[in-house]
């Protein structure tokens, strides 16, 4: 079952914050976040493995609510380089392959 991402697209000014949500109808073992720029390969951002776990680096962080089967990606004080499509990928446990959401297109304007 493909996770559902929201919003589908968001346009921000540089310096503004954004939240991207990912929810699943089935129990999650892990949530993976990737960013893809146009014409390029997806690039890994972070993995969340435990319920309630929060991770982050620089101004990008994420949380994982295992009970609600949801994860959120937080982008703080967005930079132009944050533009791209963000995907969450989920696994049900025991398997390495991911089921990805359809992506959230993020556009950062100067």
């Amino acid at each position: 079952q493909q996770p559902v991402q929201s919003p589908q697209a968001v346009i921000l000014r540089e310096g503004e914050d954004a939240v991207i949500n990912c929810s699943s109808s089935k129990a999650l073992y892990s949530v993976h976040w990737y960013r893809q720029k146009h014409g390029e390969a997806p690039v890994f951002l972070m993995i969340l493995l435990k319920g309630g776990e929060q991770k982050g680096h620089d101004k990008i962080s994420a949380s994982f609510n295992e009970k609600k089967q949801q994860s959120s990606l937080y982008l703080t004080a967005s930079q132009l380089s944050y533009s791209g499509t963000y995907f969450c990928g989920t696994s049900g446990g025991g398997a390495d392959g991911l089921t990805f959401g359809k992506g959230t297109h993020l556009i950062i304007q100067p």
């Binding site: 493909q2 073992y29 892990s30 993976h32 390029e40 390969a41 997806p42 690039v43 890994f44 993995i47 493995l49 995907f87 990928g89 696994s91 398997a95 390495d96 392959g97 991911l98 089921t99 990805f100 959401g101 359809k102 992506g103």
Partner: protein
């Protein structure tokens, strides 16, 4: 600089022809994935291998797609016969097993006319 290498980068072929895509995973990685990306479906998992053994190929149309790992340095994805609906970007990714990050190759853009 370790990276996943995919060839060819672009392929245009006629319907009915055989297409083979190749992937060289990062040395030492024991898990290899094949994903397909289209505008309509997004990123879909086609198959993956762990220690060269196929673990899951449920995402592949079995009648025309096949994936193999002849050795640890080469993974192949073959389509025979190809159809226009197979047009997509095919990504190979590699990593270590156990929910770790996957490193994606640059993809093969396949166009079937």
């Amino acid at each position: 600089d370790a990276r996943v290498t995919q060839t060819p980068r672009d392929k245009v072929t006629e319907m009915g022809q055989e297409v083979t895509m190749r992937c060289q995973p990062i040395l030492g990685h024991n898990t290899v994935f094949w994903y397909r990306q289209t505008m309509m479906q997004g990123l879909e998992l086609l198959a993956y291998f762990r220690n060269r053994a196929p673990l899951d190929d449920s995402g592949m149309p079995k009648d025309r797609f096949s994936a193999e790992m002849p050795d640890a340095t080469l993974a192949t994805l073959k389509i025979q016969p190809s159809e226009p609906r197979d047009s997509a970007v095919y990504f190979c990714a590699s990593g270590f097993s156990g929910n770790t990050e996957a490193f994606f190759g640059q993809g093969t853009r396949l166009t079937v006319v």
